[in-house]
């Protein structure tokens, strides 16, 4: 089949971007969306033009590198599917497809469809861990954990950090991302000693990075390739309020020397 693509092209962070129109010919329904872009890129290289830059790596839907707005929808039309796992059989011959990078103030565009998601790493840096050094651990079976808690923790821990939740949110909020980590660790006994501090610092960091606030639209959970639930956000808010009552607020990472 044949598609008409309108792709966001921007040569650098400070350059002005615009849509460019390309024809994608001989698209097989068995191609993945990224393989379709590969083939467009090969034809651009053959014409001596710069190929479309996009982030991708595992192409199995788990590394979280890829992600783009496809016809205005983060990761495109198939639910619970990252861009690399989306196949062209979900498009029809002659279809017009608009492709844009993640749009969010906290994700500046680097080039074309590549954005800088370093803010997500800094949110994890501000508390998304258990402070245990190598060698400190006791026997793994010394603390039994309710299967249901372990399963719920795993549901939240499945986050791949792609940023689709931010891109889909009208407020550009990273609440689902942050809440998923707070929930994962907050449900486990290993996460308890730092639970207050984690919630306080991670939320403060999210604000400092310029992500918007959550108004519970729920767009994030629709876009999430791992279908993480906004129930986690309720949990984050619960922990955050609890932490505010129990301890002094923490400064974000970027404000520390």
């Amino acid at each position: 089949m044949k598609l008409e693509l309108h792709v966001w092209r921007q040569s650098g962070a400070d350059a002005k971007g615009d849509f460019a129109t390309y024809e994608a010919n001989d698209v097989s329904p068995d191609m993945s969306f990224l393989e379709m872009l590969d083939s467009v890129n090969e034809s651009l290289i053959a014409r001596g033009e710069m190929p479309i830059a996009f982030d991708h790596d595992c192409r199995e839907g788990i590394c979280g590198s890829c992600g783009m707005m496809i016809n205005g929808v983060a990761h495109g039309p198939q639910r619970g599917t990252a861009t690399c796992q989306l196949h062209m059989r979900h498009f029809t011959d002659g279809e017009v497809v608009w492709i844009e990078p993640w749009r969010a103030g906290a994700f500046p565009v680097i080039k074309d469809l590549c954005v800088n998601r370093g803010a997500l790493d800094r949110i994890i840096q501000s508390g998304g861990y258990v402070s245990i050094a190598t060698g400190n651990a006791q026997d793994a079976n010394s603390i039994p954990i309710r299967k249901q808690d372990a399963d719920n923790a795993m549901d939240a821990a499945a986050c791949i950090g792609c940023g689709a939740c931010v891109a889909a949110c009208p407020n550009g909020s990273a609440s689902l991302f942050t809440a998923a980590k707070i929930t994962h660790l907050g449900l486990l006994p290993q996460g308890q000693p730092e639970r207050d501090r984690r919630a306080a610092r991670m939320v403060a960091q999210m604000d400092a990075e310029g992500f918007g606030h959550c108004t519970l639209f729920g767009e994030c959970q629709e876009a999430c390739p791992k279908e993480i639930s906004i129930d986690t956000i309720a949990r984050m808010n619960y922990d955050f309020i609890g932490a505010a009552m129990r301890s002094r607020p923490e400064k974000p990472v970027s404000a520390e020397g």
């Binding site: 393989e35 839907g61 979280g64 039994p144 499945a158």
Partner: protein, 637 residues
């Protein structure tokens, strides 16, 4: 070149303790005066960076992805082995050691494997303490399963995402250290060369993939944890960015490359769907527990699978290996699929596929039970192929999955360049000629959490590296060489893209250095690869400049190195006149087609040494002795 494995004396059970006691220590106050570079943030690199920083070293960590959380360890599905013996089924450190040496077809170093089995138990403790949500039983304790044909249940898992959860554990430990200031993180940086001063590894040269800036980074020791080189085949289950450049550059600076021909071809991957294919996707091996592998008995049978009657199907694994059947080891199952497809009995597009049929299992256990066991895998399969495996048999075909070869390391995981340590898939040490399922995660984390942090200290305390000036002639020369190479790639201005060369190289390697290798085929490849390489340097085109984010330039540099590594792999495969593990030479097989090892002549590690451009590499041998696990022929009949 002298290969000294520096294995401690004494009984195998005591070697690691002996080494730990004999190692020189760095005073806690002096640790922060040392800088250690870690390249790669997968299980090995992430764990090493975090642990070194916890000890007090200044760590500089590099990855080519936009975040350290994305390294390809994240894609591992099945699980991680550990000799915990929680199920009380007779497992022990010694049994895990024994199984791993035997599974590696007697081509690994016993002492390293024993240590791996020993520290396996600490890995599970560490990961659990970090909050890794391993699967649990209703009683609240950790669940185990049997994996990859093992006779005991020693595999720990987190759904089908064990690699992801273990990697996030290591990543979070890194972020904790970044927050504290112990690790400086350099994402979107690619290592393009190693800086060697007075014979010691003293730093790396990187390219900032956003700005294009080429910069030196200096240190007192360097750890390479840059993963495997399966992408030399173009199509593999590796991530698109996985490449050999870091280890290949180190090889050309003097690090020996061990057993490059040992590659693992995984039997259960989704077959190619056409010319556009950019990578292959693995379907967990656990599917073979319930699926039956078959092809039509007749050549060129184009009927739909459900229309082929039972007596016209060939369940070839069950027929040839009645006792292991569909659970035969990876190398045997892969070769079986290739054989039937070569006979013209393959199924699906291009005839490169075999059926993995769940109809009997569904009849026996019910659809619900099968959905519970494999639901997410069936979903993933349907997403990619648009076929429903509950109704139509899956189609599978082998694909390159892991490389057992890598840079040669001694017992302390140090390469033949003092100060250059190598961890995880990038080194050669623990899996011999074939890796067992659920052992890769174990090795990466063992190296990263428990070995490297200690052996680096021993090196620093012994070698006492002196401060190095940023304008040392070796530093400047290495930077200059990287810049010249980049300029050369950009300056060819030919007609063919990096991918088109990569695809062609991959096809050549798959055909002649893949599942079955012959003298004739390898000699053909060794003639063809230099021709292709010459064409590459004559006709490559890379649009754009070096001073920007340029993904074609990144690919071109990686393909250039794959072109050289491919030749070394073929050379190694040609010289190894035996069949062992993932290396099958058609000339060396038993009358009924089984691999025939030659222990008298080839029980050694082949460590290749770079001799210069256009010169044949030099073969060095580390003899392997099997004191504890006695040499025996594997039999799965």
């Amino acid at each position: 070149m002298k290969l000294d494995a520096r294995v401690p004396e004494g009984p195998i059970q005591e070697k690691w303790d002996t080494r730990k006691f004999d190692m020189k220590l760095v005073n806690p106050a002096n640790k922060r005066k040392h800088t250690v570079i870690v390249v790669g943030t997968g299980l090995a690199g992430g764990a090493a960076a975090a642990s070194l920083s916890e000890l007090g070293y200044q760590v500089k960590s590099f990855c080519f992805q936009d975040s350290p959380r994305r390294a390809h360890s994240i894609a591992a599905q099945g699980g991680i082995n550990a000799a915990k013996n929680y199920p009380n089924d007779g497992d022990s450190v010694y049994r895990l050691f024994y199984d791993t040496v035997k599974g590696g077809d007697f081509r690994s170093r016993e002492s390293n494997v024993y240590r791996l089995a020993q520290v396996s138990v600490n890995i599970i403790d560490q990961a659990t303490a970090q909050g890794v949500p391993f699967a649990r039983e209703y009683g609240g304790l950790l669940a185990n399963r049997s994996f990859g044909g093992a006779q005991v249940s020693r595999t720990f898992y987190a759904r089908g995402q064990t690699g992801q959860q273990l990697l996030l554990g290591a990543y979070q430990a890194m972020e904790k250290e970044i927050d504290k200031g112990g690790i400086t993180m350099y994402p979107r940086h690619e290592m393009l060369d190693l800086i060697v001063v007075d014979g010691h590894a003293r730093g790396i040269v990187t390219r900032n993939m956003v700005t294009g800036a080429v910069e030196p980074h200096l240190a007192d020791a360097v750890v390479l944890a840059s993963g495997g080189y399966g992408n030399v085949f173009f199509l593999s289950t590796n991530a698109k960015g996985s490449n050999c450049t870091a280890i290949w550059r180190a090889y050309k600076r003097g690090a020996a490359f061990a057993n490059p021909c040992y590659t693992q071809i995984h039997p259960t991957c989704i077959p190619e769907s056409g010319e556009h294919q950019s990578k292959l996707t693995l379907m967990s091996e656990s599917l073979r527990n319930d699926g039956r592998v078959w092809v039509p008995k007749a050549k060129g049978d184009t009927r739909k699978p459900n229309e082929i009657p039972e007596n016209e199907r060939d369940y070839y694994l069950e027929r040839k290996y009645p006792s292991f059947g569909n659970l035969s080891p990876r190398d045997i199952a892969s070769r079986g699929a290739k054989e039937v497809c070569d006979e013209g009995r393959g199924v699906g597009p291009g005839g490169r596929g075999v059926y993995l049929d769940f109809a009997d299992a569904i009849k026996r256990l019910g659809k619900e039970k099968i959905a519970e066991r494999y639901g997410n895998l069936f979903e993933m399969y349907e997403r990619i192929t648009d076929e429903n495996p509950y109704e139509v048999p899956m189609r599978i075909y082998p694909a390159v999955h892991y490389t057992m070869g890598g840079l040669w390391v001694d017992y302390n995981l140090m390469s033949t360049i003092p100060g250059l340590h190598v961890a995880g898939e990038a080194n050669f040490s623990d899996h011999g000629a074939n890796r067992l399922g659920a052992s890769a995660l174990m090795q990466g984390l063992s190296d990263g959490y428990f070995v490297i942090p200690l052996t680096i200290g021993d090196y620093l305390a012994t070698a006492k590296p002196k401060p190095l000036a940023a304008d040392h002639p070796e530093v400047l020369a290495t930077v200059k060489q990287v810049e010249e190479r980049t300029a050369k790639l950009l300056g060819i201005k030919g007609k063919r893209s990096p991918d088109s060369f990569h695809r062609e190289l991959g096809r050549l390697m798959w055909e002649y250095c893949g599942m079955a290798r012959s003298r004739e085929g390898l000699e053909h490849a060794l003639k063809r690869i230099p021709e292709l390489r010459a064409e590459f340097w004559r006709d490559l085109t890379v649009p754009g400049t070096g001073e920007e984010l340029n993904q074609s330039l990144e690919k071109a540099g990686r393909v250039a190195d794959f072109m050289e590594l491919a030749e070394l792999m073929c050379l190694d495969a040609l010289h190894r006149e035996e069949s062992c593990g993932g290396h099958f030479r058609v000339e060396h097989q038993t009358p009924d087609g089984e691999a025939l090892r030659n222990d008298a002549e080839f029980a050694y590690v082949a460590a290749w040494e770079w001799a210069g451009e256009d010169k044949a590499p030099v073969l060095n041998k580390e003899p392997l002795e099997f004191e504890y696990v006695h040499l025996a022929t594997r039999s799965y009949k």
